[in-house]
Every structure is written in structure tokens, then in C-alpha cells.
């Protein structure tokens, strides 16, 4: 077997989701090539060469791959696909954008968001917002797969020494172009790879009160998340939404504050190792999944918690 993994990176470094995807590739078994495509991404390719288990790095460094537009990325991956039995990418906004395009161009199915490798052609994946786990066998010669990063322990980022091959062909479709982006500026860790996540729900009552969560996040080196209800109410931006339609997180410690525990939210966090719930309603369903529940008013509990840390 021979596996092509598509790296998620910021041009300088690999994103943690890439290391988790490499772990899934190792479980499938076989030679692993890691494609780093971008504009000015030689630094990320150097980092890729050091990642555990990578046998070669393919570097496609061209303005055509700036911002990873789906049409160009998919065309590039398809042009390199020959000889690989598996093509894997993290199930990030980028991977989810271009990988189905790759699958369709190769006339194969995509297996989305896998959480376990059962056999080289058989994978487990959540369906119905994680309320059921499907085991799916691919009948295709080439398996196109996106990987849920939180379900696989990252491989080591250092220690490898893979050769870097430059990909010279350029795929420029001209179908779409980048206009602008507006990224949240934060010194806190990325939500999906943070060791600690503290999230607020409708009970936070106001966007101002999210500062209470931020202070605790900073003490614990964690990230701040929110429920869809809190996002819809305008308390927090949508890119920190945790749940079926937002981010999936599985940190060491998840602190749910003022969160009732709707199914759609639980789908995004119930694989966390330790769950703490702080809610004044002792009947809230979140307590049914929490390891430690504190029935308290969050506006008194949060300042106390911050002081105690």
C-alpha cells in the first residue's frame, strides 16, 4: 500500500491535524508521501520532512495553491494520485473543501471524517451527529478519506529525515480567486488541538461575559469555545462554535459553562477526556456526560475558579 497525505499547514509549520492524519495513515500501513501545497511553503515542507513516518515530501510551491482553492488543489492531487492506494487529508475546512472534488475526479467514494481504521479498506465514522458510529468498507481501488484529527494521537513532529521532491506542474483552473480573509487574532491555542477547552453557552448571557472564560483559558493555556446557541445570540464568533455543525474537539479537559447540553453540542465535545460542567440548573443534560458537575451560578463560580487556579 502507498498513501498520499495532504498536509494542513500555515506555510511555516504543519498544523497538528496533519500529524494526526499521519497517525491514521500509519495505522493503514505502507509508504507515506506527504504533499505540502501552498505559496511560499518551503518552511512547512522542511517541517514535513521531519515528521515521523513520512518517506517523502512532495512540495508544490506556487501562487496557484495560495489559500488552497479547491479547484486547483483537487487538480494537483489528482495529477499526483497515480500509484497511491489511499489519499488522506485532515477533515478541516480545507480538506472538506477539496477532497470530495478529488474523489469525484477519480470516480471513487470519499469516506468522510474517519475516527478509526478497522482494516486498510474499512473505517469507522460518526453519522447522525455522532449518535451512531458506522463501519464502512470502501469498494474502490483508491480510498479517498478525511480524518478527524481528535480521534488519532499525533505522530512525533521531529525525528524524521525524508527527502523533499519538488512538484513542477502547476494546476490553475481560473475558476475561482481569493478576495480577502478575516482571521480571528488570538494567542491562545487552536480550538481543535488545545489541551484544555473552556466553552460558554446561552447561560453566559452576554458577549462581555466571555472574558470570564478567557481569563481561565489563559491560566490553563486553553482555548475558548461556544455553543451554537451562544453563537446565534451573538456572544461569540462562529469559528469557535463546537458541535455537529461546528468544530469537533476532544481535549484533556473540557469545561462547559452555562451549557445545557443539546445533542448537537455534545456531538462536538463528548470525546473529551475529562468533562466539567458548571450550570445553575441541576437538571441540565450536560451533567449526564460530565465527570465533575458543579451546580452553581457561573458569575460567582468563574471568578472563584480563576482565583483558585
Amino acid at each position: 500500500m502507498s498513501i498520499l497525505v495532504i498536509a494542513e499547514h500555515d506555510n511555516q509549520r504543519l498544523k497538528p491535524s496533519t500529524l494526526s492524519t499521519l497517525a491514521a495513515a500509519q495505522q493503514i500501513g505502507g509508504e507515506i508521501a506527504l504533499l505540502v501545497a501552498g505559496n511560499g511553503c518551503a518552511g512547512a515542507a522542511k517541517a514535513a520532512a521531519k515528521a515521523e513516518g513520512v518517506s517523502k515530501v512532495l512540495l508544490a510551491d506556487n501562487p496557484a495553491y495560495d489559500h488552497e482553492l479547491a479547484e486547483n488543489m483537487a487538480a494537483l492531487i489528482v495529477s499526483l494520485a497515480d500509484g497511491y492506494t489511499h489519499i488522506l487529508a485532515p477533515a478541516t475546512a480545507n480538506g472538506k473543501n477539496f477532497m470530495p472534488r478529488v474523489a469525484a475526479l477519480l470516480d471513487v467514494a470519499q469516506i468522510s471524517d474517519i475516527i478509526a481504521v478497522k482494516a486498510p479498506d474499512t473505517f469507522a465514522r460518526p453519522i447522525y451527529a455522532g449518535n451512531a458510529i458506522a463501519t464502512v468498507q470502501s469498494l474502490d481501488a483508491v480510498k479517498v478519506i478525511t480524518v478527524r484529527g481528535t480521534a488519532f494521537d499525533a505522530v512525533a513532529a521531529e525525528g524524521g529525515n525524508a527527502p523533499i521532491e519538488t512538484v513542477s506542474q502547476v494546476e490553475e483552473s481560473g475558476l475561482s480567486r481569493f478576495v480577502a480573509e478575516e482571521m480571528a487574532q488570538s494567542d491562545r491555542p487552536e480550538l481543535t488541538s488545545a489541551r484544555v477547552v473552556i466553552a460558554g453557552g446561552r447561560g453566559m448571557a452576554d458577549s462581555e461575559h466571555f472574558h470570564l472564560l478567557e481569563k481561565i483559558a489563559d491560566k490553563l493555556g486553553g482555548a475558548v469555545g461556544a455553543t451554537r446557541a451562544a453563537v446565534d445570540a451573538g456572544f461569540a464568533p462562529n469559528d469557535v462554535q463546537i458541535g455537529q455543525t461546528g468544530k469537533i474537539v476532544a481535549p484533556e479537559l473540557y469545561i462547559a459553562v452555562g451549557i445545557s447540553g443539546a445533542i448537537q453540542h455534545l456531538a462536538g465535545m463528548k470525546d473529551s477526556k475529562v468533562i466539567v460542567a458548571i450550570n445553575k440548573d441541576e437538571e441540565a443534560p450536560i451533567f449526564q456526560v460530565a465527570d465533575y458537575g458543579l451546580v452553581a451560578d457561573l458569575f460567582t463560580a468563574l471568578p472563584e475558579l480563576e482565583k483558585a487556579l
Partner: protein
């Protein structure tokens, strides 16, 4: 501008899903079904394009069992002009749906295809991207804002860490994220009116598509149960437990 909008019949999002006792699939018998919420957002966006004079016609398409007519009638009640059902009693994989939609696109020649970003049953998030690939169209997934400017769509997308705006040439596929709009409720007069709007039924054979399975569902299990832990009395006890029992801080 002609807009094609897709709707999928799925389990209502408020219904608690149960796995069949033989673990062959989830149990959909006597379960309330509805339009996939993201498809509903796509329909709303299409109707708004028509109301603002940018779209001339909105055609709703669904692929699935005969009962998916109900979801098409809902789309018609929300403001779509006519509907097409590609009827298949066999479950259709994303690639098959994309191939069938590609044929509908060839027939209808829309300038814009609006779809939901994912269906809440299989949670695949594939079909829009696959359709775009098969037709050589550009794509803008996870849209939170859509503007039509001449021969292009300017789309703001929900991406990891923030928002990205791209311009994509028409015809294109745009898939709707949650914040694109808030769908309206269908009014009773519009529900009545929708019953008289045209609804055409086709089969995969009519479209010349042979549906082939690329995957096999081996089993479906309930997720591992998480049991409730303990209640702590106060913040001091919580911090003590996290430090000394769970050892996570």
C-alpha cells in the same frame, strides 16, 4: 439567472436517533422526516435571489424515495417555482447523487446551484463539491454570505479560524452554512399554492446514470456511552479533583 437548489429528505433534527437492534443501520421507521436544515437555508437563499430580482427561476431538486415529494412541496411553499424528483428507493451515495445532479444540470443549465453544506444524516459534506468537480464548475462551500456580481459569485466562507471571501465564476456550486440566512416559515396560502406547482419525477435510468455502490455499510453501532460522574460541592472541591484525581491541571 436560473437557480437550481437541492433538498434532501432526512430525519428531523429534533428526533433522537436509535440504532436498529441488529446493528444494520439506524431505525427510520415511523420517524418524523424533514428537509435537511442546510438545504432549507439554500432554498431560502435561492428564493431571496428571486425576490431581489437577481434570479428569474428557482428549481428545487431532490433525490430519494417517492416520499421526498413532501420536502419538494415544502421547498415550493417556501418560494421555489417548480420541482424535480429523481426517484430512487435504494439509498444513494454522494457520488451517485452528484452524477445524477450533473445530468439534471446538463438539462436545466442553471447559472447557480445552491446546496446545503452537509446532510445531518450521513454528515458527509461531499455532494456539492463532487457535483462541481463532475461539471468542471467552481465551488464555494460553507457560505455565510453570497453576492452575485455580474458573471461571478462573491462568497464569504466559514473556514477554520475565521472567514474567507472568494470570487467564483458562474455557473458555480455554492453550499450553505448556518449563518447564510434564517429561513422563513411557509405560510398557509403558500403551502396551498405549492400543491399546484409543477413537480416532475425522473428515474436514474431516465437520466442515463447507472447507480453503483462504492462503499458497503458493514454495521452501525450506538456510540460509547459516557456515564455521569459526580457532583462537587464548590469550586475548591472541583479544583482539588482536577488536580489530584483527574490530574489534568
Amino acid at each position: 439567472m436560473k437557480v437550481l437548489v437541492t433538498v434532501k429528505r432526512v430525519i428531523d433534527y429534533n428526533v433522537k436517533v436509535r440504532v436498529k437492534s441488529d446493528h444494520s443501520d439506524v431505525d427510520l421507521n415511523n420517524v418524523k422526516m424533514a428537509i435537511n436544515p442546510f438545504c432549507e437555508i439554500a432554498v431560502e437563499e435561492a428564493v431571496r435571489l428571486k425576490e431581489s430580482g437577481q434570479a428569474s427561476e428557482v428549481v428545487a431538486v431532490s433525490l430519494g424515495p417517492q416520499a421526498a415529494q413532501e420536502q419538494l412541496r415544502t421547498a415550493l411553499a417556501l418560494g421555489a417555482d417548480r420541482a424535480i424528483l429523481v426517484q430512487s428507493d435504494e439509498p444513494l451515495e454522494s457520488l451517485a447523487v452528484a452524477k445524477l445532479l450533473a445530468k439534471v444540470v446538463e438539462k436545466e443549465k442553471p447559472d447557480l446551484v445552491l446546496m446545503g453544506k452537509q446532510a445531518i444524516d450521513t454528515d458527509n459534506s461531499q455532494t456539492g463539491q463532487m457535483l462541481a468537480a463532475l461539471k468542471g464548475m467552481g465551488q464555494a462551500t460553507f457560505a455565510s454570505e453570497l453576492k452575485i456580481e455580474g458573471d461571478q459569485a462573491v462568497v464569504t466562507r466559514e473556514v477554520d479560524g475565521g472567514l474567507q471571501t472568494i470570487a467564483v465564476k458562474l455557473p458555480a456550486v455554492v453550499t450553505a452554512d448556518l449563518r447564510l440566512n434564517e429561513p422563513r416559515y411557509a405560510s398557509l396560502p403558500n403551502i396551498m399554492k405549492a400543491k399546484r406547482k409543477p413537480l416532475e419525477t425522473l428515474t436514474p435510468a431516465d437520466l442515463g446514470v447507472e447507480v453503483k455502490a462504492h462503499t458497503k455499510l458493514l454495521q452501525v453501532e450506538p456510540p460509547p456511552e459516557r456515564s455521569a460522574g459526580i457532583k462537587v460541592a464548590d469550586v475548591a472541591e472541583l479544583v482539588d479533583k482536577l488536580k489530584n484525581e483527574a490530574k489534568v491541571i
